[in-house]
């Protein structure tokens, strides 16, 4: 590959970080959600659908509510609503998580497209730019802080991004040293032991799935509000599935999720950046890089990805 001299400029690196964050934050929220439910033993294949309804509701909220916060709230609400199906069908009734997940994704793709087309097909409105909250002093650091070309470098992000990073830290603490983390882990490792310890497996898993839905919805909303600035059919383009992979590669550890999400975000945003840098690489080649990277990683470290033993298995008290 020819490396043009522009690659090494400050503008380029600012864009790499900003672009990576912009594309990585939806992945981060969603993958944090998946990390929670995987820990609790629920494989959420419906993540793509939950992200999509979150994106649509986030767009609606931001459009009619004239506030990105209304949008985020809408995204969370829609994600929770979609995950209610999973709670009832998979956690309460013990139905096949993969089949229900596929159904949620299909229905999510269909319903958002139908609603968007019937409301906005002629107008296709765009959302306005969102506000950022530069961190005083730090925002003066070159590359990490200074806004160039209207991008959001690390220290000039919308508040929700900082909240998301904070959430990852909180989750890491919860997983390590709180009873919630212990209960979640037990629900994924050996649900009957959790039950015998007097904690409801169904409740633990239900809350985990609802939290996943909320985070996937929020991820979708951020994608629509900050990322694409509007909604389109299938706007998530498989990011829900990517989030599942990220959660698996990070072995469910929140800080690992943050790192992997950022890496994927950079890869996703790289095609545009390379064009800025004067390297003409087809967008498809760049787009498939993260996926090829995952396959390569899986081929090299096939045994590394860890999944809880009770993942995707329904829990029925008394059944062995």
């Amino acid at each position: 590959m020819i490396v043009a001299s522009q690659v090494w400029t400050q503008v380029f690196w600012t864009s790499v970080i900003a672009g990576g964050l912009l594309a990585g934050v939806p992945l981060m929220f969603t993958a944090l959600g998946e990390a929670i439910s995987e820990r609790a033993g629920v494989l959420n294949i419906g993540l793509e659908g939950m992200m999509l309804v979150g994106a649509y509701a986030g767009f609606l909220g931001a459009y009619y509510g004239h506030s990105m916060w209304v949008g985020y709230a809408g995204g969370i609400a829609a994600g929770v609503l979609a995950s209610c199906f999973m709670v009832v069908l998979c956690v309460w009734l013990g139905l096949d998580q993969i089949v229900v997940g596929i159904a949620i994704t299909l229905a999510g793709e269909g319903i958002t497209s139908v609603l968007y087309q019937s409301q906005f097909s002629s107008t296709q409105p765009r959302l306005g730019r969102i506000t950022t909250d530069p961190i005083p002093l730090l925002d003066r650091i070159p590359v990490l802080g200074k806004t160039l070309n209207g991008e959001f470098p690390l220290f000039s992000q919308p508040l929700i991004v900082y909240l998301g990073l904070g959430l990852a830290v909180v989750l890491a603490w919860l997983f390590r040293s709180s009873n919630i983390g212990l209960n979640l882990r037990a629900a994924g490792e050996k649900p009957e032991a959790l039950d015998a310890a007097g904690v409801s497996v169904v409740a633990t898993r239900s809350y985990a799935v609802l939290a996943t839905g909320a985070l996937a919805g929020l991820g979708g909303a951020y994608l629509a509000i900050a990322g694409t600035g509007g909604f389109q059919d299938f706007v998530t383009q498989g990011q829900g599935y990517m989030a599942i992979v990220i959660a698996m590669l990070a072995r469910g550890r929140p800080l690992g999720v943050v790192v992997f999400s950022l890496m994927f975000g950079i890869a996703l945003s790289l095609s545009g950046l390379l064009q800025i840098a004067g390297i003409n690489l087809s967008p498809e080649v760049v787009h498939m890089l993260p996926f090829a990277g995952i396959i390569a990683a899986l081929m090299l470290f096939a045994r590394r990805a860890y999944l809880p033993p009770a993942l995707a298995l329904p829990y029925v008290r008394g059944a062995r």
Partner: protein, 533 residues
């Protein structure tokens, strides 16, 4: 210990507990009384209703009828949490510890009073309880790395964690070495001193007699009889045994082909060695064989031989490499070192189905998990190790008539109770499932058969007929390797008994008078030397 106050209400009183599952009346108006500082033994065969009763007490199962009185007050135990809050702690037969978590994490699980885990407090509580019980547990070990005996100690600590008054131990000795049983006995003594009521479930008579203050015998969901404290103290052992056997098996005992044999088994009388010529051909030999661990321990450098007409037992505590040994011989697990010889020819490189054809068979202990495919018919299950072979398949196409016809013959020959050969295998009872498995392994020219826990969980009658089948195989010129954790069983049917400990063969004992003690010594010695190493 004898300062029992007769006027005080009993700690737990079960009155008329009834529970039915589709097709089974698991508990039929069971009455049971528990007092402080007493070990109450529940004795009964598999399926007598012990597990259901425990499930009810520990909040996992809700009874259809009956009342539970705790200190005289009527109580409902609606969930495991409720049971714990009432002070009822349970140690289940299958480990309830989470292997991936540390001992401390396992103990803290379920304590949701504060968001932050109270690690310092938990360490203190563990030290306190460990001191009371006289056990030594490292709080930071991962549960998976503990020996079974230590796991059980952790489980007892866990059951007592939130201040229990009633401790339920479900078949606690089934996984323990003689040494482990001795330690458990000590722990039980300490618990009694502290005024705990203990329910001790077992199907072994001698354990009940040596540990219990009172014995209740369950049979077909009913309390068939009770041996009171006074009787246990004053009547002779022989008398008690005879009475318990009568209560346990009732009229059925007469139906069992050989009651004397049953008595023998229950009394742990050593079996008599059958004559095997010392110069009989060696049919199976392992030479310094090693196999990797799977979910359980692997084996290392195991050498043994088996002669024609011989029944060789493999004793040892569960999880000491039994599965690896069986799967290595069966061809399911590749050897990392050493050789397996069948009639002097190496078969190490031959696949499981190849060995099956040569007459080397493996009757697995995990009958439902890997022994058969529940949703396929009984008939097909009888041929699942011959898929694609003539005459049952021709040019890859199944010959239904041949399969069904031959299956019907096997069903008759092995007395499998099934409505038809097209019935789905999963609907059969445990005993009949084992018969299907044995029919498959003992047909079409069996020569050397590995039996893994062949009678585990079976009723008396089926147990007797399975042992007859093993003897018949040996008498007809075959040979059997019987892996079992039930030493009594090995003493009854084997010619020699090898002991497996920590994946190594630590000794071989010829069966005969005194064999039981000798095997016990080898087991303990083997464990001790392995720990020292």
């Amino acid at each position: 210990m004898n300062a029992r106050n007769e006027t005080e209400a009993p700690l737990v009183d079960l009155v008329g507990i009834t529970k039915s599952f589709p097709g089974v009346l698991a508990n039929d108006s069971v009455d049971l009384t528990l007092r402080r500082g007493e070990v109450h033994c529940l004795l009964g065969e598999n399926g007598a209703g012990k597990s259901t009763l425990i499930g009810i007490l520990s909040g996992l199962i809700r009874p259809d009828a009956g009342t539970i009185l705790i200190e005289g007050a009527e109580t409902r135990i609606s969930s495991p949490r409720a049971a714990l809050e009432l002070g009822i702690g349970t140690v289940h037969q299958h480990s309830a510890l989470i292997p991936a978590l540390s001992v401390l994490e396992n103990l803290m699980l379920g304590d949701n009073r504060k968001l932050r885990l109270d690690e310092a407090g938990a360490r203190g509580r563990l030290a306190e309880l460990a001191g009371q019980l006289g056990v030594d547990v490292d709080p930071d070990t991962t549960a998976a790395d503990l020996s079974l005996g230590h796991q059980q100690q952790v489980e007892i600590v866990k059951a007592l964690w939130r201040g229990s008054r009633v401790l339920i131990l479900d078949e606690p000795t089934s996984m323990l070495t003689p040494q482990g049983v001795a330690e458990l006995t000590k722990v039980l003594g300490r618990l009694k001193e502290q005024g705990q009521a203990v329910i001790f479930i077992t199907h072994k008579l001698h354990e009940a007699l040596s540990l219990a203050d009172e014995i209740s015998i369950l049979r077909r969901g009913r309390v068939a009889g009770t041996i009171e404290r006074e009787a246990l103290q004053w009547r002779s052992q022989e008398e008690l045994r005879a009475e318990i056997v009568r209560i346990m098996f009732g009229d059925e005992a007469r139906a069992v082909a050989d009651l004397a044999e049953l008595q023998e088994e229950l009394d742990r009388v050593e079996g008599k060695a059958r004559g095997v010529a010392a110069d009989a051909d060696i049919v199976l030999e392992l030479q310094h064989a090693s196999a990797p661990e799977g979910t359980e321990l692997g084996i290392e450098d195991v050498s043994l031989h088996l002669r024609q007409g011989e029944i060789l037992g493999v004793a040892g505590v569960d999880g000491n490499g039994q599965r690896a040994l069986a799967e290595l011989i069966g061809g399911q697990r590749a050897a990392t070192a050493g050789r397996v010889l069948l009639y002097g020819a190496p078969v190490t490189q031959i696949s499981a189905s190849g060995r099956q054809k040569l007459g080397l068979r493996y009757a697995t202990d995990d009958r439902l998990g890997e022994g058969l495919v529940g949703r396929l018919s009984v008939g097909l299950n009888l041929f699942l190790k011959r898929v694609g072979e003539r005459p049952f398949w021709r040019h890859g196409r199944i010959q239904r008539a041949v399969v069904d016809g031959r299956a019907a013959e096997l069903v008759r020959e092995f007395d499998v109770r099934t409505p038809s050969v097209t019935t789905r295998a999963a609907t059969l009872s445990g005993g009949n499932i084992q018969k299907v498995l044995l029919a498959r392994e003992l047909s079409f020219g069996p020569k050397v058969v590995v039996f893994h826990k062949p009678t585990y969980g079976l009723d008396v009658k089926t147990t007797a007929s399975v042992r007859d089948l093993i003897r018949k195989l040996a008498d007809d010129g075959g040979a059997a390797l019987v892996i079992s954790t039930d030493l009594d069983e090995l003493l009854e049917i084997c010619d020699r008994i090898a002991v497996l400990s920590r994946g190594r063969l630590v000794g071989v004992v010829p069966n005969g008078p005194g064999a039981a003690e000798e095997v016990g010594e080898v087991m303990v010695g083997g464990a001790a030397s392995a720990e020292a190493a």
